[in-house]
Amino acid sequence: MDEARILRRGLSPRLWLAGGWLLVALLAAIFAPLIAPQDPLAQDLMLEHLPPFWLDGAEPGYWLGTDSLGRDLLSRLIFGGRIAFIVAFAAASAACLVGSALGLIAGYFGGWADRIISRVVDIWMAFPPVLFAILLVAVLGTGLSSVIIAIAVIDWTRFCRVIRAEAMSQARMDYVESARIAGYGRIGIMLREVLPNVVPSVVALLSLEMGIAVIVEAILSFVNLSISTDDPTWGGIIAEGRLSIHQAWWVLVFPLATLILTVLSFSQFGEGLKARFDPVLR
């Protein structure tokens, strides 16, 4: 791949937009204590259901209004981003590592390894994923690590299926045969020749999976099974917003918009990267 030419081509608008939003949200999450205008946990019943700044009755300093306990919505969204990004990176990486390794083995070696791994994937695909996630978190106990483990345990199959198919087609290519003739071992060929060629697919999937992980975390928070109830999470805020939807629409609208933008950005970023690295599309 001609790296210099890729760099010269510049970024497509969708990579710019998606990457830009993700960068802003990530920086806000990292520097949350410096940026957040209020303490995200501070309750004040005198400030209950304050509207966002452009409406009558808004208070300065509470830009996006407050929830039913008078907590500042913007600060809660900024702090909620921390958990969203931690889950996104940790769960997606874990799922990617397990799934890609098994997919590579199944696709490259074939035979019994492939048969067993494919059967397990079939079994996994027969579970409703959301129910499986809720069940796992209920079993493991709520908490950040349980959420991450649950997502990784469920979603490794996405990587496994794609990488298996990729590795299978790569294994039939001439360059693999020449490497074998040149005297390389099978594991050596798998890691040195096949692995680098499946990387573009892995990268695109990884970005997509981060978006999925953010959603699953939100769903788990929504059914009250994610992190502790004190820490603000996007799903937790949405659950509150769903309850007070007729009194304070903003408690649902802002976290929902944040979640949609983030998920769209992750998937578009992945697609954009794939298009960039895919030799056929390029």
């Binding site: 059967r119 397990v120 079939d122 079994i123 695909m125 027969a126 579970f127 409703p128 994923p129 959301v130 129910l131 499986f132 809720i134 069940l135 796992l136 209920a138 079993v139 106990g141 978006g211 999925i212 959603i215 939100a218 769903i219 929504f222 059914v223 099974l225 949405i238 769903r242 939807i245 007729h246 629409w249 649902l252 609208v253 929902l256 979640l259 949609i260 998920v263 769209l264 998937s267 578009q268 697609e271």
Partner: protein, 335 residues
């Protein structure tokens, strides 16, 4: 050839179901909470606890428990729900029709929207309309059903309150139904007032489930239509004087549908999986909503039963799609 294919599939299906049963059993038995302790009032004696444990078979070894449960399942006995104290199979069958009706309505909507968009896109290929359909379907696809559900609640529950966003049917209505297939039965009894009420409740969750699938259908079918539209026989139909829409509907659609069909089958299982959270979001009294309650209440027999029924549904759909594909694909039919 077809029969052989069918039997092989059936066998793998049974292996898959057995695997699901093992996995769910192992996962549940790792659970630290004691469901028996939750059932009894505080201060229950050890003898009471032991008696209940024996009643639910929890005092035996884990492998023994698994085979006792599996033996029961094969006889149609899924055990007794711990939180609701009723027969699991009865509870599941009571709720399954609501979920099946919701999923079917969602599937029909997805196919209707997706196919329409694909035909429009293929008809106006190379124009701004096609580009618009591409962008819309790309964005629709990236947003999962959970978020669509919330968007719909905001739009049509609050901003423009025209649809019901909670429940399956208005609670004040007097229902004459003897089965749980309310929608089907309301149609058969010609009680269209009830059909309308049911649809008003079902529409929002069904749209939330349908949109991502509709987008996938639109993308894939449009792609295959465009490929078919360049083939000789389609060009011939065009020369004969058929309009572009006629050509697509009469000639191209039939041959372009096959790859989409396989995909719709797999995606339909994803759609059914999505009912779990969408039912929760809209307080729709289906199987998925009951499943979440079962997990929260640590109702092990009920969780096992529901997961197994979902898995059975998934493998049956995959089997049906696979068979349909084999029947429709001439290369496999005569192969």
């Amino acid at each position: 050839m077809l029969l052989q294919r069918f039997l092989v599939r059936l066998l793998t299906m049974l292996v898959t179901l057995f695997g699901v049963a093992v996995v769910v059993f192992v996962v549940i038995r790792v659970a630290p909470g004691d469901p028996i302790a939750m059932m009894l009032p505080p201060g229950a004696s050890d003898a009471d606890i032991a008696r209940l444990r024996a009643l639910y078979g929890l005092d035996k070894g884990i492998v023994q428990q698994f085979f006792i449960w599996l033996g029961g399942v094969l006889h149609g006995d899924f055990g007794t729900s711990i939180s609701l104290r009723q027969d699991v199979l009865g509870l599941v069958f009571n709720r399954l029709p609501a979920t099946l009706e919701l999923a079917t309505v969602a599937l029909l909507m997805a196919v209707a929207i997706g196919v329409t968009a694909a035909i429009f896109g293929a008809r106006s290929r190379g124009t701004a309309i096609e580009a618009g359909i591409d962008i819309a379907s790309g964005a629709t696809l990236s947003i999962p059903d959970f978020l669509w559900g919330l968007v719909l609640i905001l739009l049509f529950g609050v901003l423009l309150p025209v649809f019901d966003i909670s429940g399956r049917v208005s609670p004040q209505l007097d229902l004459p139904f003897v089965t749980q297939f309310y929608l089907v039965e309301s149609l058969l009894r010609l009680r269209f007032d009830l059909t309308w009420d049911l649809l008003k409740h079902m529409l929002m969750p069904a749209v939330a489930l349908a949109l991502p699938l509709a987008a996938i259908i639109a993308q894939l079918l449009k792609q295959s239509l465009k490929e078919v539209l360049d083939l000789d026989y389609v060009v011939l139909a065009r020369v004969k004087g058929f309009s572009e829409t006629q050509v697509i509907l009469r000639e191209a659609l039939k041959n372009a549908a096959l790859p989409t069909l396989t995909l719709v089958g797999v995606q339909f299982t994803f759609l059914i999986g999505g009912t779990v959270i969408v039912e929760r979001l809209f307080s729709y009294e289906g199987l998925g909503n009951m499943a979440i309650d079962a997990v929260i209440n640590r109702d092990l027999p009920l969780i096992q039963g529901i997961v197994l029924v979902f898995a059975l549904l998934f493998v049956l759909i995959n089997l049906a799609v696979d068979m349909m594909y084999a029947l429709l694909n001439p290369r496999l039919r005569h192969g």
